[in-house]
Amino acid sequence: MREVAVIGVGQSQFGKFPEKTVSELGREAAQAAIKDAGITPKDIQVAYTSRLIDAMVTSQTVLKEVGITDIEMVNVENACSGGSTAVRGLWKDIANDVYDIGIAVGVESMTTSPIAGKLIPPDKDDLEGQLGLTMPALFALLARRQMDEHGARLEDFAQVSVKNHHHGCLNPQAQYKREFTIEEVLNSRMICEPVTLLQCCPNTDGAAAVVLSSMNVARKHTANPVKVIGSVLLSGGYAYLRDDITLSPLGSKTVRMAYEMAGVGPEDLDVVELHDAFAPEEILRYEDLGLCRPGEGVELLRSGATEVGGRIPVNPSGGLLALGHPLSASGVRVIAEITLHLRGQAGERQTPDAKVGLAHMLGGSVAGLEAGACGIHILAR
């Protein structure tokens, strides 16, 4: 397989824009990524686009606005891992020498969706979804075990939100650029005990795009391209195999494969972007990804290591909590964010001298399975 580079990244503004269509949101991101790559639309040979809600030929709908037609276009859905899935598909095409250059787009209009302002449910026919398992309920059930098993306190969950909202203030494209205190987070409206409103990702409209290419193409544009050194996408295993729900066999297996492919370990990472849809979840993801040992996520958070300026910044973008979470865009957006850090272009939130970064996304609740899918990409320069 060939080495693959990230040569262009782009993101629309994230926020509530019910007046913007999906093609407008997607166009903003795709044009930004193409401009950033220093290529023209006709250079793009293949496109993958991810969208979850009301999706139909979204690649074509978005890319016709950019000047891209008459190429292979693939449209994917994988809940919140959809964006990772689009990037993974494009990565495989380039690594396997099918194409030399292509674009992956993720886009979602949440404020115009049927679930705007509601708790996001699983598929309408999902048994557990019908019985009341919403996304915040799922992570609230986990949070209760984190408190019982790992000594997590309500203030720890709130601290994740305080941290990521602080990071959002450093990111001009974030939906929320506002500092919150632990008390404000804990006193915000209760959603699913113990998860309060400010511990939930908001409804967000937005899009992100990345241009990937072979190294030959990449070197024509830059002397020091960012490489994708690991790319893994796995679906979740049976839930009955998991005794302790605070452990994630899916996340652990996905990251183990990604580290093996990349030839690095968690100790080599300089920066991480991960799925923090609900504040307590970020602490569990530290453990899956090997940033600390199982059960020690709370200690890692309390140490301050995962703040911008800390040893291993996590979600310097503001994460899903503050930057926002247009579902299918997030898996693409985390790769764009890591790329900016590796290039030294992340502005006030820049991780100093970042050489290796990890972009994670997790998605989907399916009765009987641990989760829908987990996608992990490791990037390096």
């Binding site: 059930l141 986990l142 409206r189 005990e193």
Partner: protein, 135 residues
């Protein structure tokens, strides 16, 4: 009177003792599945036998929702209950005023109407704390 429709066929039975959940078990490896599996997902054997699950189990985790879900208006509780057969069941939980939820507490199954859809009432299972139960 509204027509009663089960949320899933063959997932539970009503009885004088309050009803039971119906699972199935692989005759080859013994793995138990709820809801029932078409074949064994552990060893791929297709000889499955129906088993009645115990009425009582222990609360593994819970939450109380304060925004509507697809079918429930707040406040409503949901959680996972571990049954002795090695099955963890996700279910709505009945809230009792004098018995706050606590992980590890004894719970028992109740079969009752969950919600109405026009002229039909969807029936299913919930778990409720056992009064005077442990821990």
């Amino acid at each position: 009177m509204a027509e009663k429709v089960p949320i899933r066929e063959g997932a539970f039975i009503e009885g004088p003792d309050g009803g039971r959940l119906l699972a199935n078990k692989c005759k080859f490896c013994g793995q138990v599945f709820f809801p029932k599996a078409s074949t064994c997902m552990a060893c791929y054997h297709d000889q499955m036998e129906e088993v009645l699950l115990s009425r009582r189990g222990k609360l593994y985790t819970y939450t109380v929702g304060h925004m509507p879900s697809s079918h429930f208006m707040p406040p409503y509780a949901v959680g996972y209950v571990d049954l002795p057969e090695g099955v963890r069941v996700f279910a709505p939980l009945k809230m009792l005023e004098d018995t706050p939820f606590k992980t590890g507490m004894d719970m028992e199954v109740v079969i009752e109407g969950l919600w109405r859809e026009g002229d039909t009432e969807v029936w299913g299972y919930k778990f409720m704390p056992v009064k005077g139960g442990g821990p």
